[in-house]
């Protein structure tokens, strides 16, 4: 990409025919188009995986088997997890990165636009492989999103397809990460030093580093599963002398940093939204950057807290317990800084700010339940119970997903040129936040009482809390239709948005008109 300067005598913009229809979207190398594609893909997948969640909750409304065959139930829980992680949260954050990183840095586009196009278009291929596996003999994968052997060694053809899909999504992530790292480091506008970058760029830079470090591990692990399945190797096959527990070590060495890959960009979005609506600069910018980096580094030395029950020496349990607890320190710094930013600010409570505040409060609950699970003796009791389900949904729904909603409401006027419907936005917020708590809060009690996860049937004493959770799930699920309506309505029309949509907004993206023109910052801005 380039710095371009034009000196013009008169109208300089020649008109050329942009491809339209499908070809425009297939061939585009524009970061805004690709950002939009990522976000649309994530939205479609959100409704697909969300529908699976509603089926799961409908089955769990009463003890006994109601609607689903147990094997299909297992397929739904597995695919719900895989799609929400790889098809919703990660692509949504990539969409934000594509839209916002060049705008925030004053760059005309991503560093490698064609690679950017490829990175996106690999995703629908993987999505089709995953969703299509429901139609195969034996159905989709049912061994859990964690892909543990021996189930993943023994399953049918859909397991091979899922491994292929994971490879494709991994390749897409690597291409996206290389693009983001090179864009952030090499394409900043003059004067935009690293410590002047918006925090969203910092969190994505660190996320991209994590992806680069961990993706080969995932690729290697699933390839070894594939060779165990098809080529007679015994990496993880106990029958041939392999070690299935080692798969868990390798998988979680990837998947714990993956948890932070799913949450660090959320930190970035919230760190943009809160200062805007508190009308104050972010408190402790430098400490936020260092805290993000610390979380990323610590994420490599905590993986075994996911597997305390496999049997490990007490010294190892202590190490992983304390290293996990250590993560609470930089995370606490972040929560403190968000609260301090709001402290004595001139706050207003538009929908993005409401979602950001809900994020701070509810993510903190998820963080605390994570601390509970970090304590090895407690985790041995709670492992594979609904307490764990409650914990990670507080982190990923009220954490990652709510930050995505905050970001969408925050930047949608910049992207579309129209203000969203604030009333509908607030309905969406309140129904989501109430629904989400009704679904997931009772799961703490279910887990403490001993209800195991990933089962279609349960003992009678768990009935009431499950019924409450199911009602909450349907409130939460159907309230997302309001979100869809808000987005469609805003794309279609609405009050015109100004360049600086929000009074307290700071940053280069607010210096360009709304909607952001197709080409921005072809002449590099100078940041002072």
């Amino acid at each position: 990409m380039s710095d371009v300067a034009h000196a013009h005598g008169h109208d300089e913009h020649g008109h050329h025919a942009h491809p339209t229809g499908l070809m425009r979207w297939l061939t585009t190398t524009n970061h805004k188009d690709i950002g939009t594609l990522y976000l649309i893909f994530a939205l479609v997948m959100l409704f697909a995986a969300g529908s699976m969640a509603l089926l799961i909750r409908a089955e769990l409304f009463k003890p006994g088997l109601q609607l689903l065959h147990p094997d299909f139930f297992n397929q739904l829980t597995t695919m719900h997890g895989l799609i929400m992680i790889f098809g919703v949260i990660m692509p949504a954050f990539s969409g934000f990165a594509n839209w916002q990183v060049p705008l925030m840095l004053g760059a005309p586009d991503m560093a490698f636009p064609r690679m950017n196009n490829w990175a996106f278009w690999l995703l629908p291929v993987a999505g089709i492989l995953l969703m299509g596996s429901f139609l195969l003999p034996g159905g989709a994968v049912a061994g859990g999103w964690t892909m543990y052997p021996p189930l993943y060694i023994q399953g049918g053809i859909s397991y091979d397809l899922t491994i292929l899909a994971v490879h494709i999504m991994g390749l897409s992530s690597i291409m996206g990460s290389i693009n983001i790292i090179t864009t952030i480091l090499n394409m900043r506008a003059p004067g935009m030093t690293l410590m002047k970058m918006p925090l969203f760029c910092w969190t994505w830079l660190i996320t991209a580093y994590l992806l680069i470090a961990t993706m080969p591990v995932l690729a290697g692990a699933v390839t070894m599963l594939l060779t165990d399945r098809n080529f007679g190797t015994h990496f993880f096959n106990a029958a041939g002398g392999g070690d299935p527990v080692m798969f868990q070590h390798i998988f979680w060495f990837f998947a714990h940093p993956e948890v932070y890959i799913l949450i660090l960009p959320a930190f970035g979005i919230v760190s943009q939204v809160i200062p805007t609506f508190a009308r104050k600069p972010l408190f402790g910018y430098a400490s936020m950057v260092y805290a993000t980096a610390s979380i990323a580094i610590l994420s490599f030395i905590v993986w075994a807290h996911h597997m305390f029950t496999v049997g490990m020496p007490a010294a190892a349990q202590l190490f992983f317990m304390f290293s996990t607890m250590l993560i609470a320190v930089p995370t606490g710094v972040k929560v403190f800084n968000w609260v301090a930013t709001m402290w004595r600010g001139s706050m207003t409570f538009e929908t993005p700010m409401l979602f950001a505040i809900a994020f701070v409060c509810l993510f903190t609950i998820g963080g605390f339940s994570g601390l509970v699970l970090a304590i090895a003796p407690v985790d041995i009791q709670l492992h594979d119970t609904y307490y764990v389900v409650a914990h990670f949904h507080y982190v990923l729904v009220s954490g990652a997903l709510f930050s995505i909603f905050a970001g969408i409401y925050y930047w949608l006027p910049k992207w579309t040129g129209h203000m969203y419907d604030e009333t509908l936005g607030k309905w969406h917020f309140w129904l989501s936040v109430i629904g989400m708590n009704i679904v997931f809060f009772p799961m703490h009690f279910l887990g403490l009482a001993g209800m195991p996860r990933r089962i279609p049937d349960y003992a009678l004493q768990f009935t009431e809390f499950n019924q409450i959770a199911t009602v909450g799930a349907f409130i939460f699920g159907f309230s997302q239709l309001i979100f869809l309506a808000v987005v469609l309505k805003t794309v279609k029309g609405g009050a015109k948005a100004t360049s600086k949509v929000w009074e307290g907004a700071e940053g280069l993206e607010w210096t360009v008109p709304s909607p952001a023109p197709y080409h921005t910052f072809e002449t590099a801005p100078v940041v002072k």
Partner: protein, 156 residues
């Protein structure tokens, strides 16, 4: 960082160069940090017998090396196209050296080899059977837009 654009009344000047916020030394440090992380982890697992992580780390680092090499190759490059009166002046610096070409506006035509972005579009300023590529540091959409702008500018 930015090279100045000299303006004279009525002249059209297009100046473009790749955006390079990183020095060569910084690029090298970033690359080796990333490569060391990926290879270090892969070698650790290989030492335990799970060697299939290693080829994927190799492929990834290869892709990274290509990306950083592409960035490095662009440093110091620029291209300038000036249309003033009847003169069209092209000046450039690429990996293989500098160049300058002065053409008569009336004989110049703009050629592009595709109409849609995403297909590595190229646009050339042609005269007397010889073409010079311009807009190399733009994305495909901006390149096509430049072609349209130049065509309208060159109309006599």
């Amino acid at each position: 960082m930015d090279e100045p654009v000299r303006e004279t009344a009525g002249a059209y000047v297009f100046h473009s160069r790749p955006r390079c916020a990183l020095s060569q030394g910084q690029e090298r440090r970033v690359f080796w940090t990333l490569a060391a992380g990926a290879f270090g982890i892969a070698l650790g697992f290989s030492a335990l017998g799970y060697w299939l992580v290693l080829p994927f780390a190799g492929l990834e680092v290869g892709l990274l090396a290509w990306a950083f090499d592409a960035l490095r190759a662009r440093e110091g490059n620029y291209e300038t196209l000036t249309i003033e009166g009847d003169a069209v002046v092209l000046e450039w610096r690429k990996e293989d050296g500098c160049g300058r070409r002065e053409l008569n506006r009336r004989w110049v035509r703009i050629e592009s080899d595709c109409s849609a972005p995403g297909r590595h579009c190229r646009i050339s300023v042609c005269s007397h059977g010889c073409g010079t590529e311009v807009g190399q540091y733009l994305n495909d959409e901006a390149r096509l837009q430049l072609a349209a702008t130049l065509r309208s500018r060159l109309q006599v």
